[in-house]
Symmetry: C2
Subunit: 483 residues, 2 copies
């Protein structure tokens, strides 16, 4: 339901085909069109809604990518059986809303090591599919820019970093409704570095950082490494962080900063609605608590609508917005950025202390791609592909995993959160998977409280028959654990 409402709420800004798709999706979710039933033909719907046939085709194509409907040859479009259900909303226990020391270090070292097992089926690390990256164009731009800026590309580029790139980032962020001046942006070596700089600029050892639960494991590791404590706030699989729980937590603990992936969080893939973003900024702003906002996959929405960021509602300079081009263009270029608000000077200092500057040639290449590479066109393609692959993988999990398994329905990005029945021990499953030549990401590394022992995160970016087979194998292992 909520997804549909959100889609409707966004309809004002949506394109025509998205409006049509949202209408049909609503009817499916309300049960007007039941699973397995036929929906109106393309011509019929075009007549009914007074739109063109091509608009309906586009809308149906989109709903297919989302895994909501399927085309049957010579017959028409049908509502798919939506196995499996999404994870349930979290139960919020107040006694659990207290800071914890992170102790998942050994586990994360193991997982990090295994991510470089290159011959394994790569369902573990959240890396993008290299085949979907614009390799040809980027390497051409890398060359051209290195020639064009021969001396600059060789020289130090002290914080705030490469100006042409900052210009392009400021322009791009307007499409997310966020007006940033180029001097408010500091370039970094990827988004994780941006988050690290933000934490270092704000926190001192012993400080408490409120995070989502489940929480991206590298954030927990960074918190541990800096001697901070994590306060895990449950996240709803559709709306993201529970703001009630956050309110309770900051009423009862001296929270120094809050770290949230507002758009398509990792691992849940949830999208915080705009009004929640505004509320989040207000709740924290009232107490002058900085918000570190990670918008790493904001551009990888499964709809063609790019959601806004919490930074958009920031009036006090308290939001430090972090992102990069690692998921959309080139992970290996290590180009990210931060808009650190009132922490600008300290973030620049932390950047200079960490590694002086970000590599110049890759910054120039990304800037050129944003300016003249057809980034929007590129995004339209990858958004559809990832939406489709996430949906196909969710279906496969539904077919192969034991009954009672739930799967997230991400609104963007390409990772799935799989909640197995309680009897499934995912650390055991992890070992079996590695033995079978498959990497996965075990749930417990997403919590400092030892939660998610029955959950795994899967990367759908490499969807292929080989990956489908791997899902089947994993499902078999999980099923056998029923004992």
């Amino acid at each position: 339901m909520a997804r549909t409402e959100q889609a409707a709420a966004e309809a004002g800004r949506a394109t025509l085909y998205e409006q049509v798709a949202a209408r049909i999706a609503g009817l499916i979710e309300q049960g007007t069109f039941a699973p397995g039933s036929r929906i109106p033909s393309v011509r019929a719907l075009a007549r009914q809604m007074e739109v063109s046939v091509s608009t309906v085709l586009e809308a149906y194509g989109y709903l297919e990518d989302q895994g909501m409907i399927e085309a049957r040859p010579q017959s028409g479009y049908y509502v798919k059986a939506r196995v499996p259900s999404p994870p349930a909303a979290p139960r919020i226990e107040r006694r659990m809303l207290s800071p914890t020391t992170v102790t998942t270090r050994d586990l994360s070292v193991m997982v990090m090591r295994d991510t470089i097992l290159m011959k394994h089926v790569p369902l573990g690390a959240a890396i993008p599919n290299p085949e979907l990256l614009p390799a040809e164009k980027l390497s051409r731009m890398l060359s051209a820019e290195a020639r064009r800026h021969r001396t600059e590309s060789l020289s130090y580029d002290f914080p705030p970093g490469c100006k042409p790139l900052r210009v392009q980032i400021a322009r791009r962020m307007l499409t997310a409704g966020c007006a940033l001046d180029l001097d408010e942006i500091v370039t970094t070596s990827g988004c994780l570095e941006a988050v690290n700089l933000a934490l270092r600029a704000i926190c001192r050892p012993g400080d408490i950082v409120a995070v989502e639960s489940p929480c991206y494991y590298n954030f927990l590791q960074a918190i541990e490494a800096m001697g901070l404590r994590a306060l895990e706030i449950p996240s709803h699989p559709v709306h993201g962080m529970s703001l009630d729980a956050l309110r309770y937590a900051i009423d009862h603990h001296p929270v120094r900063a809050c770290l949230v992936v507002t758009n398509f969080s990792n691992p849940l893939g949830c999208l915080m609605p705009d009004d929640h973003k505004r509320e989040l900024v207000e709740i924290l702003g009232a107490r002058d608590i900085p918000l570190i906002e990670d918008d790493l996959v904001g551009d990888l929405s499964h709809s063609q609508h790019r959601p806004t960021v919490a930074k958009n509602y920031d009036r006090k300079g308290l939001v430090l917005l972090c992102s990069s081009f690692s998921k959309t263009l080139a992970p290996g270029y290590r180009v990210g950025w931060i808009a650190p608000g009132r922490f600008q000077e300290e973030v620049e200092r932390q950047k200079a202390m960490a590694n002086v500057a970000t590599a110049m040639p890759t910054q120039l290449a990304i800037a050129e791609f944003l300016a003249n590479g057809g980034y929007d066109h590129h995004l339209r393609t990858v958004r559809r592909v990832y939406a489709r692959q996430a949906s196909l993988m969710a279906d496969a999990v539904g077919r192969h995993f034991p009954e009672g398994t739930r799967v997230s329905s991400p609104a963007g990005g390409y990772v799935l959160w799989v909640e197995c029945p309680e009897y499934v021990d995912v650390l055991k499953l992890y070992g079996l998977a590695i033995g079978a030549g498959i990497t996965i990401c075990p749930g417990p590394i997403f919590s400092a409280r030892g939660k998610y022992g029955n959950c795994i995160r899967l990367n759908a970016a490499f969807w292929s028959p080989r990956v489908e087979q791997a899902v089947e194998i994993l499902g078999g292992f999980a099923t056998e654990m029923r004992g």
Copy 2:
């Protein structure tokens, strides 16, 4: 004297012209050839020493670069008047050998900001001269490698990082007498990042790190940012860190790590002799104290002899050797490395947490340059140029700064340490310099103890008539302070 002895000690490994140069330098230092006097003609010396005329010409060219002799047209070679003297050996006061909290933060923020005043005469930051970087060749290699490794150059390159680069680094380090396996090397975004990762892998807040005094200011800043304390060990302007003082310090304080620039330290430019390096490793090894060794400018020796590293004497895996190609090839590429010994796993984890990986295209370009770019030929050129420029700048300081000013005589790199008479207040000088369009690096940021209030560091890499004029202006300001 010491420089000559050292040169003689290295004679076994030195080329013939270096042996000839060391002999003449010894005679000059002993006073056999007094300042202003004529030394033997090229032909006469060739006969006396039974070497070729071209060998003597090369030796005399080298001594000219070192600023020891000068050619006078139609007359021959003369010993230069060696104004000014090098800084005196430090007085070692035991009560000063205790840990200090770093408090030079505001000063370093100011200096960092001023380094980007691009229109100023750049004597502040220790950046290399872009005109001496192989821009043409590197940008060609950047392009070629990006095309050749289209997919890899786009993808994550998890620690330990780019293999072709590690292969080349291992080969290069053999020329410094240090045998490293490529799997013992982790690539980083520059040398400063390598040092940061090393400190993070070893230290916890409150720990004590022994450093040289004067100490590169970014090290002090990193120590402050991690909540560590610095224990400053006086450095001799020729031999580097006082090992007696270090022994006393570790006898009296729980030193957790020792951080030393063994070759051409910043700011003194001193070169720790091989036997001191061995002793340093032994002193620390006896107590299992890790040594973080910075060899950033090791390749920029003013002789053509590349000194070895302390890591060469490491039998316990306690030395973490850090370096980069920022001073020799391309600061803007941000390519460095660390050989972390027994801390390998933890350093790799810290790297993954900091920014996942180092930019791939620039790593591939540097690897290709090391393999096929003529790195040795390039080094031969820049070594001579920097030796000559450091010597010319030292002369200019001698001419223009007030009486009693002392200047370092760096054995490598391109920075000079200028010790003015006590009455010179370099923070005041700093302000005057900025006002006159000149950046300099004020001495107090090189100490957590507020030392060096009468010292400045100058970058000689950009030597030109404009720089000479800037030195004259600075000398004028300093002279006026006599009051």
